[in-house]
């Protein structure tokens, strides 16, 4: 069992937990993820690592309840435990292995959206610890949904919050912020975009035009996370890649986002059914295939 040391609700949609997982904490690097399973009947849910403390042996995860399993996660409190917590999985971010001197010469722009701010954080923090200041754009629907603001400010070079409704920071999408920064004369050697697939798609369309190499972190449906099932396969260039072992980070200009987004829909109806079952208990007869539902 993997004990929860801290459970915090960051806002109405997003939760943060610090979990005891010494093996993961000792070996993880920015860019990697974990697979979390709440109990015997739960799903294996992939979550990016938001922070780690090697000495304390803990991992910080941030998640947004979407399906039945993550909704159950949200009900856990400090002192509760996850049955399973596996990792670190996937490859670390490319820059972790890069020569630090040549890395110092690069100007890096991070673009995070929604809960995607969480996996951006350990990367920016790692760079800060290695003497590199990166610019960070974080977008959210409104001010209340913006997460990890103080933490991000503390490790970023320049920090640019954006809200869709204009309630805070730059008013508008993250893409308009990127355009603005480039128009102001900023030069970026690489952009790292992490967030909803639709956001990553539009950031990539823009950075392709601006000729800024872009890395994205893909979050497709997964089961085992170790290369075994192939559920997470993506088209990158013309090749089929497994996000869990070949990624999760890929050259954003080569990823076929339309295919990835279609694959993301695969279990939408099943997930919806599982959620209804959770909320309505025995009164709902979803999942039986007979109720009409969303067939």
């Amino acid at each position: 069992m993997y004990k929860i040391q801290k459970a915090e609700k960051l806002n109405e949609n997003i939760y943060l937990m610090v979990v005891e997982a010494p093996r993961v904490a000792r070996h993880c690097e920015p860019g990697q993820f974990v697979i979390v399973k709440i109990d015997e009947t739960g799903e294996r849910i992939p979550l990016t690592i938001c922070d780690y403390d090697r000495e304390a042996g803990t991992i910080t995860i941030v998640f947004q309840p979407v399906g039945a399993s993550t909704r159950k996660f949200a009900e856990l409190k400090e002192g509760d435990a996850f049955r399973d917590f596996t990792g670190p999985l996937g490859c670390p971010s490319e820059f972790v292995k890069e020569d630090i001197e040549s890395l110092k010469k690069k100007k890096i722009l991070f673009v995070g959206g929604g809960v995607g701010a969480a996996p951006v954080y350990p990367q920016v923090k790692w760079l800060k610890e290695h003497g590199i200041d990166a610019d960070v754009i974080i977008g959210s629907k409104n001010k209340d949904l913006l997460i990890l603001e103080d933490e991000m400010r503390a490790v970023s070079g320049n920090y640019y919050p954006c809200t869709d409704d204009g309630s805070y920071g730059h008013a508008g999408m993250v893409t308009t912020m990127v355009e603005e920064l480039v128009e102001q004369g900023n030069h970026y050697d690489v952009c790292i975009a992490i967030g909803p697939m639709i956001m990553m798609k539009f950031v990539c369309l823009l950075t392709k035009k601006l000729a800024i190499p872009t890395v994205v972190s893909m979050n497709p449906i997964m089961v085992d996370g170790t290369g075994m099932c192939g559920a997470c396969r993506l088209l990158v260039g013309d090749e089929v890649k497994f996000a869990c072992v070949d990624g999760p980070e890929f050259d954003g200009h080569l990823v076929d986002f339309d295919n990835a987004m279609k694959r993301q829909q695969m279990y939408k109806t099943q997930e919806g059914r599982a959620l209804l079952k959770l909320q309505e208990g025995d009164t709902h007869h979803g999942g039986c295939g007979n109720c009409g539902g969303d067939n």
């Binding site: 093996r23 993961v24 000792r26 070996h27 399973k37 009947t41 739960g42 799903e43 294996r44 399906g67 039945a68 399993s69 049955r83 399973d84 917590f85 596996t86 990792g87 670190p88 999985l89 089961v223 085992d224 170790t226 290369g227 075994m228 099932c229 192939g230 559920a231 396969r233 993506l234 088209l235 089929v240 072992v245 295919n259 279609k262 694959r263 829909q265 695969m266 279990y267 099943q270 997930e271 059914r273 599982a274 079952k277 999942g287 295939g289």
Partner: protein
């Protein structure tokens, strides 16, 4: 007196009934049936059946105990060679190993060795007969990677010799392919796999789940930081293959690994579990091995109409005869000498069918089987909503790529000596599918035994 040429038949669940449930197909023998079948064994002096068994079980030895009605004694005879008899009695290809060597088989039916083994093992599980344990530990620590058949066998053998063994498993459940790959209706998880693993625990073996070697820690770190003196790699062959035809990333195309993992490991077939499965109504399984049969019969039980699409003819089907027979009985349709060309999709990216081409058999290829050749112009379309690719698997490169000095071959398999599992790296041994590529449970167990022997020799001389 029964006809000594004929084996005692085994009771099975009716095909029509079992096609709609996940209960075990075969019920196995009861004590009377087992004792009667045991009288058919000729107790040959130079027993050829033992030579046919990859772990060299003393087959006439245990059968003569069954004949006397001493089932506990029979279990201890099997236990000298095998830690997982309830599993082997169910999934071993006995017809091509022990049973095909049986003298009885020349004129009539071979002795039903597999079903007798299963009976003895099930009796031991039901009556909680304990395996013989080492009297005390010898203080040497050995790590085993993977809790599938090779790892469990290696761990059990080493524990019996007094070693302190820890098994590291990447998934959240113990058993490897026995749990994620082989379906419930062929190998019950709670009743058989879990209980048989409990017996390995009773030998003193420790288990740690959720440890992905190569990620959570490495082999070198296990030896340097955690003081393991030797390591056995039994990590299996987990990477699925795809055909590389158009449409393969469409929604509704699965690897057999994914389909089976969702249903077996995550229990998607059971409504009490959260993991979903887009089971499909019209399913094609591409391939002809045991995994293809397992995937097809799982899809059938989840409510689908199922086709097996295989490019060679019935004679070349690599699956066990019993599995093919069961699949046909249950209503699986076989499209033989047929090969997929393209997966057809609708506007939303879902499978709507598959274009296939008819094949004929030409000259024998490297495998000795006649090579399938496409018949030009014979393409046609099958209407489908789901395609499951069961084309075989290859070893996961995770361990080899993070262990310095560990040699692999062209097929990404770890290079290891057959008789003792020694790899190119000192103190590191390997066996099972990680070395051979996808094979059978019993061959992996044989390799686990060889690895345990190799590690014992290595640590005794150290």
């Amino acid at each position: 007196m029964a006809d000594m040429l004929k084996r005692i038949p085994v009771r099975e669940q009716d095909a029509k009934v079992r096609a709609t449930n996940f209960e075990e197909v075969c019920y196995g023998y009861n004590k009377e049936e087992a004792m009667e079948e045991a009288t058919r064994c000729l107790n040959c002096k130079n027993a050829r059946c033992i030579q046919g068994c990859p772990v060299s079980i003393n087959i006439p030895g245990f059968i003569s105990k069954v004949k006397e009605g001493d089932i506990e004694g029979a279990y201890q005879v099997i236990g000298e060679s095998s830690a997982l008899p309830a599993i082997c009695g169910r999934v071993c290809p006995q017809e091509s190993q022990c049973e095909c060597k049986c003298i009885r088989g020349i004129k009539g039916d071979a002795v039903s060795i597999g079903k007798l083994e299963r009976f003895v093992a099930d009796y031991a599980l039901e009556h909680d007969i304990k395996p013989k344990k080492a009297e005390k530990t010898n203080g040497h620590k050995v790590a085993v990677i993977g809790s599938g058949p090779s790892g469990l066998t290696c761990a059990g053998d080493l524990a019996k010799l007094g070693y302190e063994v820890t098994v590291f498993e990447a998934l959240h459940e113990l058993g490897g392919v026995l749990v994620y790959g082989i379906p419930e209706f062929r190998l019950p998880k709670e009743k058989v796999v879990k209980k048989e693993i409990e017996k390995v625990k009773e030998l003193g073996v420790k288990f740690e789940t959720n440890v992905v070697i190569g990620k959570s820690t490495t082999i070198d770190q296990l030896m340097e930081e955690e003081n393991f003196e030797a390591v056995f790699i039994g990590s299996g062959a987990g990477l699925p293959m795809f055909m590389g035809i158009p449409g393969e990333t469409a929604n509704g195309v699965f690897s057999a690994n994914e389909y089976l993992t969702r249903s077996n490991l995550m229990k998607a077939f059971d409504n009490n579990y959260d993991t979903p499965i887009a089971a499909g109504k019209k399913v094609a399984v591409v391939g002809g091995g045991n995994v293809a049969m397992d995937a097809a019969r799982t899809a059938l039980r989840l409510g689908a109409n199922v086709h097996i699409v295989y490019r060679r003819s019935e004679a070349e089907l690599p699956a066990r005869a019993e599995e093919v027979h069961h699949a046909k009985e249950e209503g699986i349709i076989f499209n033989l000498l047929t090969n997929p060309v393209e997966i057809l999709t609708d506007d939303n990216g879902w499978v709507k069918g598959m274009k296939v081409i008819k094949m004929e058999l030409g000259e024998p290829d490297a495998s000795g089987r006649r090579r399938p050749v496409p018949i030009e112009g014979s393409e046609y379309e099958i209407e489908l909503d789901t395609v499951i690719m069961a084309l075989g698997t290859s070893p996961n490169p995770l361990i080899a790529s993070t262990t310095e000095g560990l040699e692999t071959n062209r097929r990404r398999c770890i290079v290891a000596e057959e008789e003792n599992g020694q790899t190119s790296k000192a103190a590191v041994f390997a066996g099972g599918d990680a070395v051979t590529g996808a094979a059978t449970v019993i061959l992996a167990m044989g390799a686990g035994k060889a690895g345990a022997k190799g590690i014992h020799e290595y640590l005794s001389q150290k």
